[in-house]
Amino acid sequence: MEKLTGTDRVKRGMAEMQKGGVIMDVVNAEQAKIAEEAGAVAVMALERVPSDIRAAGGVARMADPTIVEEVQNAVSIPVMAKARIGHIVEARVLEAMGVDYIDESEVLTPADEVYHLNKREFTVPFVCGARDLGEAARRIGEGASMIRTKGEPGTGNIVEAVRHMRMMQSQIKKVIGMSEDELMTEAKNLGAPYEILLEMKRSGKFPVVNFAAGGVATPADAALMMQLGADGVFVGSGIFKSDNPQKFARAIVEATTHYEDYALIAELSKNLGTAMKGIEIATLEKKDRMQDRGW
């Protein structure tokens, strides 16, 4: 029997299985186990969480393969890892290591200021960040199998993730409601590949799973993003920068599942300790905004 690997269905389908779940950033085996135990659907193996990357400055690169391997050996849930935008070799290295999903991420310092990876050439699926439908559709055009809002990583401030999710949802609705003869001009205006918009229009939905990321710091933040139409959430610095990561991780998972059960979210939010401190976006200088990376 012929087995076809790396098909769109297999790559996009992998993300479908993550829906309604939380993907957590971890930097070692111990954190990965806490995440799995709390009910995370996957972990993102990193050398440093975004808030530490932000604090450290300098060039942020793919994690040391030792860390990725350590996390892979610690858990049975899928393991994701980040490669720099356009860094073909980092992505190939992660693929060779058997990482389940690669995040071509603006959290790391871009390696290419013009081109993203041609993700269609890989067997491993990719997730990419986006702030609007044009950006999301360009990434899907390059072969991304999953999208996440960019938000503003490592800030613990949900406002940018909300902005991006609202923008995308309204643009998606608009495209689906358009007649086909309007699509080419809309594609031009959005900077989106026409074929992707046509696929959306005909199927009546965004073609891949769309998670929220970048600033989720509390269970209520996670539930908010689900209400705005996210299929699930990535939590970066929020969990392991909080006072009680175990409790925090569980609370975020449950709030994501039951995002409309407010009494439950109230219970989950009790005595969680201090969430990460957070940064007011207006105080971030333009050069420190990670969301502007990507083209």
Binding site: T5, T7, R9, G13, M17, Q18, G39, V41, S76, D100
Partner: protein, 193 residues
């Protein structure tokens, strides 16, 4: 009218709901234990089995689902759902719901890069069923009361024991509704009895 639930704690819920829709089927995304009461059949979707199990425990679904099974109401598990239904798991001391007499191995084909699709011959359905295998489990062995419905390179990938159906792959990710139709027929038959 049949009421068929899809356990909606995590995973590919929407796809199953869509695949089950029919004029005589009322499909319910089950998020609360109370919703199990009126169901004639239940689907355990694909997703992450460890996450689903944690949420099953957290929201006290375990005993009510066991009760559902004790009443012999039809159940269909895909991928993670099949893992939950096995009564023996390779490498684990305890199974989850222990519905079907079968031993299942998680992630049996390897990591995501080894995920694949292939055509299968499924007994009672057809010789051309597209199987989408994503970090899929295999059924290593089954008891003699279990009917093997499909194999791939000698490994069991679909099985049925009375009112219980399980497969390693994801029929909800294709437009082919035959596996779901087969399950709906099982539910219909169970109501005639």
């Amino acid at each position: 009218m049949m009421n068929i639930g899809v356990l909606a704690l995590q995973g590919a819920v929407r796809e199953h709901v869509k695949a089950l829709e029919a004029p005589d089927v009322n499909v319910i995304a089950v998020k609360k234990v109370e919703q199990l009461t009126d169901l004639d059949g239940l689907v355990l979707p694909g997703g992450e089995s460890t996450t689903m199990r944690r949420l099953i425990d957290k929201y006290d679904f375990f005993e009510p689902i066991k009760q559902f099974i004790a009443e012999k109401k039809p159940m269909f598990g895909t991928c993670a759902g099949a893992i939950l239904m096995a009564d023996e798991l390779e490498g684990y001391a305890e199974p989850h719901l222990a519905v079907i007499n079968m031993k299942v191995e998680r992630n049996a084909f390897g990591r995501q890069r080894e995920s694949f699709e292939a055509d299968l011959s499924v007994k009672g359905i057809g010789a051309d069923v597209r199987g989408v295998f994503i970090r899929a489990p295999i059924i290593q062995k089954v008891g003699k009361e279990v009917d093997v419905l499909a194999t791939l390179d000698g490994e069991i990938v679909a099985a049925r024991q009375g009112p219980y159906l399980a497969c390693s792959f994801h029929p909800e990710l294709t437009d082919d509704r035959r596996m779901h139709q087969y399950f709906v027929d099982m539910v219909r038959d169970s109501l005639k009895k």
